[in-house]
Symmetry: D2
Subunit: 287 residues, 4 copies
Amino acid sequence: MSEKRSAILLISCPDQKGLVSSVTEFIFCHGGNIIDLEQHVDIDESHFFMRIEWDLAEFSIARGEIDAQFRASVGTRLGIQWTLYFSDVVPRMAVYVSRYSHCLYDILSRYQAGDWQVEVPLVISNHPDLRAAAEGLGIDYHVVPTTAQRRPVQEQHQLALLQDYNIDFIVLARYMQVLSEDFIRHYPSQIINIHHSFLPAFPGARPYHSAHKRGVKLIGATSHYATADLDAGPIIEQDVVHVRHTDSVTDLIRKGQDLEKIVLSRAIWRHLQRQVLVFRNRTIVFG
Amino acid sequence: MSEKRSAILLISCPDQKGLVSSVTEFIFCHGGNIIDLEQHVDIDESHFFMRIEWDLAEFSIARGEIDAQFRASVGTRLGIQWTLYFSDVVPRMAVYVSRYSHCLYDILSRYQAGDWQVEVPLVISNHPDLRAAAEGLGIDYHVVPTTAQRRPVQEQHQLALLQDYNIDFIVLARYMQVLSEDFIRHYPSQIINIHHSFLPAFPGARPYHSAHKRGVKLIGATSHYATADLDAGPIIEQDVVHVRHTDSVTDLIRKGQDLEKIVLSRAIWRHLQRQVLVFRNRTIVFG
Amino acid sequence: MSEKRSAILLISCPDQKGLVSSVTEFIFCHGGNIIDLEQHVDIDESHFFMRIEWDLAEFSIARGEIDAQFRASVGTRLGIQWTLYFSDVVPRMAVYVSRYSHCLYDILSRYQAGDWQVEVPLVISNHPDLRAAAEGLGIDYHVVPTTAQRRPVQEQHQLALLQDYNIDFIVLARYMQVLSEDFIRHYPSQIINIHHSFLPAFPGARPYHSAHKRGVKLIGATSHYATADLDAGPIIEQDVVHVRHTDSVTDLIRKGQDLEKIVLSRAIWRHLQRQVLVFRNRTIVFG
Amino acid sequence: MSEKRSAILLISCPDQKGLVSSVTEFIFCHGGNIIDLEQHVDIDESHFFMRIEWDLAEFSIARGEIDAQFRASVGTRLGIQWTLYFSDVVPRMAVYVSRYSHCLYDILSRYQAGDWQVEVPLVISNHPDLRAAAEGLGIDYHVVPTTAQRRPVQEQHQLALLQDYNIDFIVLARYMQVLSEDFIRHYPSQIINIHHSFLPAFPGARPYHSAHKRGVKLIGATSHYATADLDAGPIIEQDVVHVRHTDSVTDLIRKGQDLEKIVLSRAIWRHLQRQVLVFRNRTIVFG
């Protein structure tokens, strides 16, 4: 329905006076009604961030012209960077999995229920185990084996698949494999990973075992954008759950998997809502 | 230091196009640099809320003139309601207590450490027990007994004290006494209460006993503005802590008191930051 | 493997001296190794509860004889009530659903992954919507319509199904229908419900709407055993998540559904582990 | 009152059959009524832990004889290690502080309210700042300067003070100074520290600055027993609070200090209740 169509501007630029005024005036002058506006100034870095969403119903600029007109009247003058989204353009997401099913099942159950505005045409895995779950929902499932020596070729294969399917962003749903810096460069701030610890504690392999050994009283999960540095990318979402001395490693894994799927799904939700901006390896998460 | 002085506008009005644009242009045109801006639209009620804070260092309007000029150039034209605050004007707070010390001690320890920008010239109580704690910090402590029959006279006495001390807002730090509708009318959205349950569960007396009897697995605390309806005012802050079958009523009280003091202090902090707006018995809490 | 087989005793009785000593001596004398022991005394009610689990590997009493021998040497003498379980006896669970899929999908994903030691032969619903999800895993799906007038007949139909499938306990996975007192009496402390609020706040219909209207700062979910009083049965698990003024009713529902499925699954887990005892409408949850 | 007097045994030993049976029989045979019993078996390490508390009202062994009789009839035979406590023996605690007041104020407010069964005769600090708070409650306040070169002499001075005051255990309430391995050896598992991060993340100095730089979405506090390795001792309590991109380092410090004082006080409470056992750098925390 026309009244549901909205435009979203994500803006990131050095701070200066008049930014909010200029942007909101542009929208107001062309008949746009602001649905949501959030701005943030990083005082230390003197950097400005804004997410602004407005109703297109009575907006006087044709959607194909908005970007150019914004550039002409605001963008160039203020020297800012922005990205324009439309709420009715449905992004396309690929899911990477290994053998753990809980995150994939959680994503698929939301997909099936229609909770998210997203297309999921493709699942990539290094194992055939979870094929039925994907194909049962009409999602193509490609097995691409991973071996340290042949990784460049295998990643080329993956990149070709991602391109074939017009993938906008990738979710690593406990994929358990390291992606190369080169691969990641193709999808900057577009690869969402879930790590099974409250980072920066316990990066790398077997965090539940390490957590048990250290005797922590809470375990966590962290969803972040993948970067060249393993488990060091900008954090989108984190949460924890309390544990006790009675919890074995098996208990930590069981409790932790509930966290993993919830934290990952929250991060995907925010990414889909265009609520996340990245700056100097940190995120601004509006909403 | 001059660069620390800022002005804050809290705005609440029926939604209309151009609100953000008009307000931010007013600030921009007079040389103000926006430090923080948050707005919210209650879609169902079509109502608009905004908190905007700007640096006064290079602002061209004298602070004594800001309110009038804002009225002239924005307020009247758009028909909005607003309140103007200055960050360097220190509010004056009175604390009401009964015999429980934990909330008062927590407030006083923050006051003594200089954590809050507030003056606390007055503590009112129906018991003399906590006099030493207040007076030790140079705070006057007045005992005003409370009896159902003589409440009107006693409240007149309290109102006179509050006026004498130029009190801006009141904190009921486990005061345990009901205030009359008439009394509350003198301080609309300026009386912060702490109730020892996750409201609306367990309003009224002895909530920990009720929680224990019901066998809940979490207990809570709720800070809200006092209204004529007991424990039914707009909620500012809530939090909970998990409990188990092993917890007796005494354990619930012990765990709950930690919640009470933290939740109350968070609410006071937000009130002091001018982050709270009230609309139809709910709060908008910016920040 | 034989070393995994264990026996579990759940004991509930008026407190008296020597209970732990007598029970542990019985196990020790017959070569049992205690894996886990938890006891609790409700001081106010002077009532004793215990869960004790021991390895059967070197236990000298045949499993078919344990109950009788325990009765002969301990139970009758001390006048206690107990239930004996074996860890390798897999309980049979029926799931009731209406149209909401999130709890069912979550249960089925755990079932499919083999996370729980349980059989799920039967799903009952008043709607056909979720048939595919059940049948895809080989689970029979029966549609039993519900109408206020014909409820007695419909419940007879359900009871017959539950008997046919040898069901041990029932999970109401957002079933949204009221069960009669008579029906519930067939499964005392064996019907696990999930309610979408932090009970006792917001019982009954549309709790997210009520929570939004009241302006609470946290929403919750409660899993409890169904009793004749709607939403008033003994609570097994509860949890909450923080919300803000920016959250619409739709946001509350979205955030709440994540809670619902996690809280329900935790309650099912505890029920399966034989960790829950009910006493005077409250639960003792060991572990 | 005599019915309140209880004895507590904390037991730690290699696992073997018959431990619970032997200990509970000892108590039962001499007329003791068990108030609370918790046991835990570390399966991986095959190690047994128990906390058992019983009423002394009708116990037939004089309290001065209990330890010897337990040794004679149970301890030696089973080769176990234990510590015997009496609930009416009030431990003596020293508090170390530097300049931060929030943890000290929180401890003193509980002390003043009589929430804890503890004596606090002594505060030691490297600064005079907080003298008034201690002395106002009749607690001696000793300033012992700390300098890297003269640490051995200064620690000797401290040890002499601790001995003079018959101190049982020490609380480092944001003391901010490193204690030597030699000093710590005098109080094994008797020095409770609070660290302002969710360890093992952000050990050492300035964790809030590191947390802000890393862009975490939650900050934490950890209370642990001090060991020779800085911030690596056995963890007693941990908790976290969510933060956002809007939180500056100053905000993290403000929010974190609330956590610190609550987490530290919870740890002290558990220590006072004799609920904590240490094994291989981890804690068993009963209750």
